[in-house]
């Protein structure tokens, strides 16, 4: 019952935060000479279209993986700021491998996904290794590794992994992954239930995201590893005394976090781009940090956060077309994040007080008997 109440408060506080964020953004819109009602109206109208919703999900999927990668580290007090670099290097190498090998359908896709996870895990695990063996703080090392990933990615792409372009094509890219290495869209499923997403292809990776979210929950709450992870985060001293090896936990957590980070780029790669190009989406790793915070490291919370970010991302596209600066959306996202954090803290205090009052009525007579 108490869990239920917490959920209600979490939802209410997030809702309030969003309302608050909308108000602040309205002020910003108004000050910058735009009519906020009109802007919101357009966003809403555009945002609830089936194709927009499908696109919102597509945008949410990578953010969800990214958030889970970050949240896993958070659970033990590790700040993996390197998801950005991890997914970018992972998707580049996975794209190159995917184009170079020939395997039958599902195996081909599986090989690409596993490659990405392995690269992400190695990249992130290296930061874990540095922390344990060399005492380098993971924030420093993962940020540095982000730069290395960007530089090395560009170098690998330009020198070894790019395809020979026909004359006139100036976009540097890896060769295209053949049909067998692509993930089919879920549009068929949408059609069965009578929805038409138009030109948007709902990514097949959405299914894997749901599975991964469930897996995340099981890993954290029902496995020994998850317990050791949370124990290490809650009290390093108590964890060590209990025989939990802190170094092993750091490396293992970074490796798993990196493996999840490797999945961030898969939705776009397998569902749309089918190759790595220099205009492959960036910043997904950093946005994931925000989503993890918004969702309080909880698999359902993060899913909601990712969908919200995805939806805003899509809905604000219309603003651009109507001549309203798209930067508003960034401000909006920042404000939402801040207000959720604040609203949650405020509501938390209220819950405590309410709970305390609620039990007293029930308890007074019992206490009388005892003495």
């Amino acid at each position: 019952m108490r869990a239920n109440r917490r959920l209600v408060y979490a939802v209410v506080s997030s809702g309030l935060a969003i309302v608050f964020a909308l108000l602040v953004s309205a002020v910003i819109l108004a000050v910058s000479g735009n009519n906020p009602f009109e802007a919101y109206g357009q966003m809403f109208e555009y945002g609830v279209r089936v194709d927009s919703l499908a696109s919102a999900v597509n945008r949410a999927v990578p953010l969800y993986f990214s958030a889970m990668a970050v949240a896993l580290g958070f659970k033990m007090g590790l700040f993996n700021i390197g998801v950005e670099g991890q997914y970018r290097i992972a998707v580049l190498i996975a794209a190159a491998v995917g184009a170079a090998i020939a395997l039958p359908g599902p195996l081909h896709v599986l090989a690409i996904i596993l490659t990405a996870m392995a690269v992400g895990a190695a990249w992130s695990g290296f930061a874990g290794y540095l922390k344990v063996k060399r005492g380098v703080h993971e924030v420093i090392s993962t940020i540095m590794l982000n730069y290395v990933a960007t530089g090395m990615g560009a170098f690998l792409l330009a020198n070894w992994l790019r395809q020979e372009n026909p004359p006139g094509d100036l976009v540097i890219k890896t060769p295209e992954i053949p049909e067998s290495g692509r993930l089919p869209s879920l549009n068929q499923v949408l059609e069965w239930v009578g929805l038409d997403p138009g030109r948007v292809n709902l990514y097949g990776m959405a299914v894997l995201a749901v599975v991964a979210g469930f897996g995340f929950h099981v890993l954290i709450n029902h496995t020994r590893f998850g317990f050791e992870l949370r124990a290490s985060g809650a009290s390093a001293g108590a964890a060590r005394t209990a025989g939990i090896d802190p170094g092993r936990m750091v490396v293992l957590t970074m490796v798993i976090s990196g493996a999840i980070a490797g999945l961030v780029g898969m939705a776009h790669l397998l569902g749309f781009f089918h190759r790595y190009t220099i205009d492959f989406p960036t910043m997904l790793g950093f946005t994931g940090i925000a989503v993890a915070l918004l969702g309080r490291n909880h698999p359902v919370g993060m899913a909601a956060g990712a969908l919200l970010f995805g939806w805003f991302d899509r809905a604000t596209q219309i603003l651009d077309l109507r001549g309203i600066p798209k930067e508003i959306v960034f401000i909006l996202q920042g404000v939402i994040l801040l207000s959720v954090v604040v609203a949650y803290a405020v509501v938390e205090v209220r819950i405590r007080a309410a709970e305390s009052r609620a039990v007293t009525g029930a308890l007074r007579p019992g206490a009388e008997e005892e003495s």
Partner: protein
């Protein structure tokens, strides 16, 4: 005489419990007032309310007759109230001086006036009582406590709250503490003192308030009441004695240390040196010593939490010197750590996860890689039942339990895991007299079944009463082996301070 503090009808509710139920407390100006009561009675809660750390749901706080609406420790400090918590809150890496003035630095313009601070510290704690430039981490527990008290007085406290100040002290240190408390009383400081050691309470207190189940049940005059009657009032039970009757010691060695030692961090001196001991099946080996003389390092080496720089550790004849902590636990070495908050508990995790900590690789807590939620909860419920842990349930986060009840869980989970060897540091620290008897009883029962125990304790009666063999640790070395049947607490005390060798 006028009242320094008057608490009227204080009520504080938590989910599932009423910690304080219309409590009244009156403390006269300039007296030492003891508050006693069983674990979970509501003593710490009441003190935190008085200190402004938590707001009461109902009731009034009057300081020197004036009603106050304190809502933070800052207000309390302004009202002249200071509190020393049972768990010290000192910055280990700073000097005594820095710790004392932290947050209340006397200033001269923009600069901190260290000279003035130094003079005031001497004024407060007396000439030579504290070395202002020593690092806190180098201090003994008794000295740390003096720093805590100095810190509070430095802020001008006229009312001093001490929550279980003597739990961590050996008798000599308790005496020293009492001397300074009496001095403070001479200077007109009002002191509230919480303790489970009733003879100490009778020795130091001018008046006593007894709390039970969140209510004030009695006030007593220490000159007219015996510890027995006081215990009766508190828990409604007889005073326990820590007496081991029949010897169950066998000649089978379970855990053995051979010349173990460990170097300090900068490797320039031995923190403990050349320690050899044997724990036999069915034996309680007591280690007496002032805290900070190497007990913790000894336990850490035996548990694999610290490498041995010399010597070997053997379990059942097998060399385990390089074995990991987890393997040692699996091999049947249990541990009750001295520092329950820093090393024993996950404060914001539920009881059942705390019971699992240390046993996360073993049934009934886990099966392979999966946590067995049902088994783990059932085991925790057994601990709660058998060790009388006062809690609304096993899903409750452990920080919501009173200190003594947290300790009962720590002890109970080790006992129910039936280890071969138990390394127990201060197993009954903070536990009330009634529950203490139960813990002793369970240790005795397990010993009869063959458990070997390394018992470290500041409570000399406990040490003498439970141990089959007694050794004294001083500055990192075992300096004496004594017969607990012969030694008196006074003799033991002089061994511990090195007065008799």
């Amino acid at each position: 005489m006028s009242l320094a503090i008057e608490l009227v009808g204080i009520t504080k509710r938590y989910p599932g419990v009423i910690a304080n139920d219309r409590i009244n407390l009156a403390v006269r100006e300039g007296e030492i007032h003891a508050v006693v009561g069983e674990n979970g009675a509501g003593k710490s809660t009441l003190m935190k309310i008085l200190y402004g750390m938590i707001p009461p749901d109902e009731g009034e706080i009057r300081i020197r007759g004036e009603a106050t609406g304190m809502s933070s420790a800052r207000d309390a400090i302004e009202a002249g109230i200071g509190m020393v918590h049972q768990h010290f809150m000192l910055a280990e890496q700073m000097t005594v001086l820095e710790n004392v003035i932290l947050g209340a630095e006397p200033r001269q313009g923009l600069k901190i006036d260290f000279e003035q601070a130094r003079r005031r510290i001497v004024e407060i704690s007396g000439e030579g009582a504290l070395d202002a430039d020593q690092m806190v981490e180098e201090l003994s527990v008794g000295e740390k406590q003096r720093v805590e008290i100095a810190k509070v007085l430095f802020r001008g406290a006229q009312i001093l709250i001490l929550d279980e100040p003597t739990a961590v002290l050996v008798p000599q240190e308790v005496e020293e503490l009492f001397v300074s408390l009496r001095e403070l009383r001479e200077r007109g400081v009002t002191i509230i003192f919480i303790s489970h050691k009733l003879d100490e309470v009778l020795e130091i207190a001018d008046s006593i308030t007894v709390i039970r189940a969140g209510r004030t049940v009695a006030t007593a005059d220490p000159r007219r009441i015996s510890t027995r009657d006081l215990a009766e009032l508190m828990v409604g039970a007889e005073l326990p004695t820590a007496e081991t009757r029949l010897s169950t010691v066998t000649d089978q060695v379970l855990l053995q240390a051979e010349g173990v030692g460990t170097l300090s961090e900068d490797e320039d001196r031995w923190v403990i040196e050349d320690i050899s001991l044997r724990i036999h099946r069915g034996e309680v080996l007591g280690i007496a010593g002032v805290e900070g003389n190497g007990q913790r390092e000894l336990v850490d080496i035996l548990m694999g939490l610290r490498p041995a720089d010399s010597g070997r550790v053997l379990l059942g004849g097998e060399d385990i010197t390089g074995m990991s902590t987890l393997r040692r636990r699996e091999a049947g070495i249990g541990l009750i750590p001295a520092d329950r908050h820093g090393r024993g508990l996950l404060l914001v995790s539920p009881l059942w996860e705390n019971a699992m900590l240390g046993y996360q690789s073993q049934p009934p807590f886990t099966r392979g890689w999966l946590v067995d939620g049902v088994g783990a909860r059932r085991r925790t419920e057994d601990v709660v039942d058998q060790f009388d842990v006062r809690t609304p349930g096993v899903e409750v986060k452990i920080h919501a339990l009173s200190g003594g009840n947290q300790q009962k869980l720590l002890v109970g989970k080790e006992m129910l895991a039936t280890p071969q060897v138990l390394l127990a540091s201060h197993p009954t620290r903070g536990i009330d007299v009634g529950a203490q008897a139960a813990v002793w009883e369970s240790i005795r029962a397990a010993r009869a079944e063959g458990l070997g125990v390394l018992l470290i304790s500041a409570d000399l009666d406990e040490l003498i009463g439970l141990s089959d063999t007694l050794m004294v640790i001083l500055r990192g070395r075992l300096v004496a082996t004594l017969d607990p049947g012969q030694v008196t607490p006074a003799e033991l005390g002089s061994y511990m301070t090195g007065a008799s060798q």
